[in-house]
């Protein structure tokens, strides 16, 4: 067995991870910042859970908007992994937390949790990045 074959064997061995859903989204940070400035707290409360709002606190309005844009992108990416099961899934049904390592952690409730179960997913992986005024998130369901 070659080294490459050994690696493949390791990945597909005892517990194969099958990708069952994928979602990606991009959010313009400045556009979101302007929306938040125009509509204030009521818009924040519709888009973010209290825990998310706490995580986005601090720093300049621009940095806050960056963190919020990342979360919006993440929520949309997660919603896309749910496909048709995610119909009617609300913004607050997906909470994007943060692990000690800094990695984003999706927590589902309500319709999102229901959709996750209906789709027979067992896990959800999420990654967020910021570059050139946009936030991009990708979600993978297994």
């Amino acid at each position: 067995m070659s080294a490459a074959e050994a690696l493949i064997a390791q990945v597909t061995g005892d517990s194969p991870a099958t990708v069952r859903g994928i979602g990606i989204d991009v959010v313009d940070v400045e556009r979101l910042r302007a929306m938040l400035e125009r509509r204030g707290q009521p818009l924040c409360d519709r888009l973010f859970t209290p825990a998310e709002q706490a995580l986005c606190e601090g720093g300049s309005p621009r940095h806050r908007a960056c963190r919020m844009a990342g979360r919006i992108a993440a929520k949309e990416a997660v919603r896309k992994t749910l496909g048709g099961y995610g119909q009617g899934c609300g913004w607050l049904d997906i909470d994007v937390g943060r692990a000690d390592s800094g990695q984003p952690v999706p927590r589902l409730s309500g319709r999102a949790e229901q959709a996750f179960r209906l789709a027979s997913f067992t896990g959800l992986h999420l990654s967020i990045t910021h570059e050139a005024g946009v936030a991009v998130a990708i979600a993978v369901a297994v």
Binding site: V27, P42, R46, L47
Partner: protein, 83 residues
């Protein structure tokens, strides 16, 4: 000014032209409204009319006329009007 005219006014404040706001215009396909912008529009309508639009109702908004109908219904119901 009737409800429809006021909804058009609110939409103009968000950046739309009154001429493009026919009742049958589709929010996503014709007016290019994405999910985040739709939330801003909903909040703008809430603030203008002093009403509370249920978050679940957002998913049911397909055409511009749906927004007008929702606001009209909430204003008529009275009980869901804030303040």
């Amino acid at each position: 000014m009737d409800v429809r005219e006021q909804v058009v006014d609110v939409m103009r404040g968000v950046g739309f032209d009154a001429a493009e706001l026919a009742d049958d215009r589709r929010l996503a396909e014709d007016l290019d409204i994405d999910s985040t912008e739709l939330v801003e529009i909903v909040v703008a309508l809430e603030q203008h009319f002093g009403i509370g639009i249920d978050a679940e109702a957002e998913g049911g908004f397909t055409v511009f006329g749906d927004l007008v109908e929702c606001v009209g219904r909430l204003l008529s119901a009275g009980s869901t009007v804030r303040g």
